[in-house]
């Protein structure tokens, strides 16, 4: 079973040299720490920055320089600042190669719910709806099971949707899965020490197990 850092580490392996990547809040943010040395990757922050660097050293926080999670950050050489319209313009125009974000639920047809629990929690969708509507390469980073012990990989989402038919891949503490165009979660890898049976029990939607499932290398 992976911890949050493990999920981030595994996702980092999906990143290719030369990619522009948008990292959502939460686990996705951690992915930045595991991008292989020597790989040229530019991180986009949808509040208007290409070239997110590490957090500042204490005392050098700049209130004018934050990421989409409102955290103080630094900029790398070659960064560019732009307004929010251009930021989502480049997202809509599919210039961002990979989008990694969290979710409350993912359905076997690629639908995603992540922004609202009716009557309980309303924080808003932020940029998530724009991202999932436009990105062609979307990986969801999340726990397989929610705090109430229910599967988050469903036949159909129960919460208000963020987008439809958009999630391509899911990485959880238990597994790596592809969401197939024809529907269904195709199991690709098991987390270390996790059995296919455990994954099957934790997956409410249709799980497709084609052959021997290798244990992931993190």
């Amino acid at each position: 079973m992976l911890d949050k850092e493990g999920i981030a580490k595994r996702i980092a392996k999906e990143i290719k040299d030369g990619y522009y990547v948008n990292l959502g809040i939460g686990i996705p943010t951690l992915v930045a720490n595991y991008i292989p040395e020597g790989m040229d990757v530019v991180l986009q922050s949808e509040n208007g920055l290409l070239g997110i660097g590490p957090f500042p050293v204490a005392g050098e926080e700049d209130p004018d320089t934050i990421n989409a999670g409102k955290q103080t950050i630094t900029m790398l050489p070659g960064s560019a600042i732009f307004d929010s319209a251009m930021s989502f313009g480049m997202i809509r125009a599919k210039k961002v190669n990979l989008t990694i974000l969290g979710a409350m639920e993912v359905a076997e047809n690629g639908d995603i719910a992540s922004w609202k629990i009716p009557g309980k929690m309303v924080k808003g969708m932020g940029g998530a709806m724009d991202l999932v509507a436009s990105a062609e390469n979307i990986i969801v980073a999340m726990q397989h099971i929610n705090k109430a012990g229910e599967s988050k990989l469903l036949a159909k989402c129960t919460l208000p949707l963020t987008g439809i038919n958009c999630v391509k891949k899911i990485v959880t503490e238990l597994a790596v899965l592809d969401v197939l165009p024809e529907g269904g979660f195709k199991l690709l890898e098991r987390a270390p020490g996790v059995s296919v049976e455990q994954i099957r029990n934790a997956t409410a939607g249709k799980l497709i197990v084609d052959s021997d499932i290798p244990e992931m290398v993190v």
Binding site: N47, E61, Q71
Partner: protein, 229 residues
């Protein structure tokens, strides 16, 4: 062409109950904090505020929410604010949540004289309810209308007396878009300079879009999530 007013109170003096305001900033970053303080002092009520976020409990638009000056918020993300959540769940506050890119582009559309734009954001979700859907090249898009606002209030780093503005780092965010979209646009700046002191190649908001400008003193620029290495 001198657009300088003496301070925030003078800049907002004709903002009246029931008006629609755009307020720049992302979280607490690039927030027109002097004008917000003046709006709180003036205690103008029944406002509709278009702003990406709703501030925190004791800073930004949160200060106006606390005094119940806001009738309706149009935002993309409103976490980080307990009083906001209380007013929302109790029905005291009307809230329209829209995707962040849609919000940005609807402001830009107003400033560019485009009555509507098309975006795929929200297709298949409750955001699409009641909106026109149109297919281009096999993909569905929502038609979203340009925003209208009586006043746009933005924060820039530097400005000149003709209203030309330059923003700093990610404090740019929604500010240049809203600056273009107000019927009247108010800019507060950290440094106010004479025409010619800003490089014409590096002006983010041309003065034609800005009606009033003033220098704010002692910016607090509060940090929402202080993170260090």
């Amino acid at each position: 062409m001198n657009k300088v007013v003496s301070n925030a109170d003078e800049a907002i003096k004709d903002i009246e109950d029931g008006m629609t305001l755009m307020l720049g900033g992302f979280g607490l970053c690039g927030l027109p904090e002097k004008c917000i303080a003046a709006l709180v002092r003036k205690n103008v009520k029944g406002l509709t505020c278009i702003s990406n976020n709703a501030g925190v409990d004791d800073f930004g638009i949160g200060l106006m929410l606390k005094k119940r000056q806001v009738k309706k918020m149009i935002s993309s993300y409103v976490g980080e604010n307990a009083e906001f959540e209380r007013q929302l769940l109790s029905g005291e506050l009307e809230v329209e949540l829209i995707p962040q890119g849609t919000l940005a582009t609807r402001c830009m559309a107003a400033g560019y004289g485009m009555p509507a734009i098309f975006t795929p954001a929200g297709i298949g979700t409750e955001v699409a309810e009641g909106k026109e859907i149109r297919n281009f090249n096999g993909k569905d898009y929502l038609m979203e209308l340009a925003f209208e606002a009586d006043f746009a209030i933005v924060k820039a780093w530097k400005g000149d007396t003709m209203g030309n503005l330059v923003y700093r780092s990610t404090a740019r965010n929604f500010n240049p878009l809203m600056a273009m979209a107000g019927k009247i646009t108010i800019a507060e700046v950290e440094e106010l300079v004479e025409p010619g002191e800003l490089d014409p190649d590096h002006i983010h908001t041309p003065g034609i879009y800005v009606h009033r400008i003033f220098k704010g003193y002692d910016y607090e620029k509060r940090i929402e999530q202080r993170t260090v290495r």
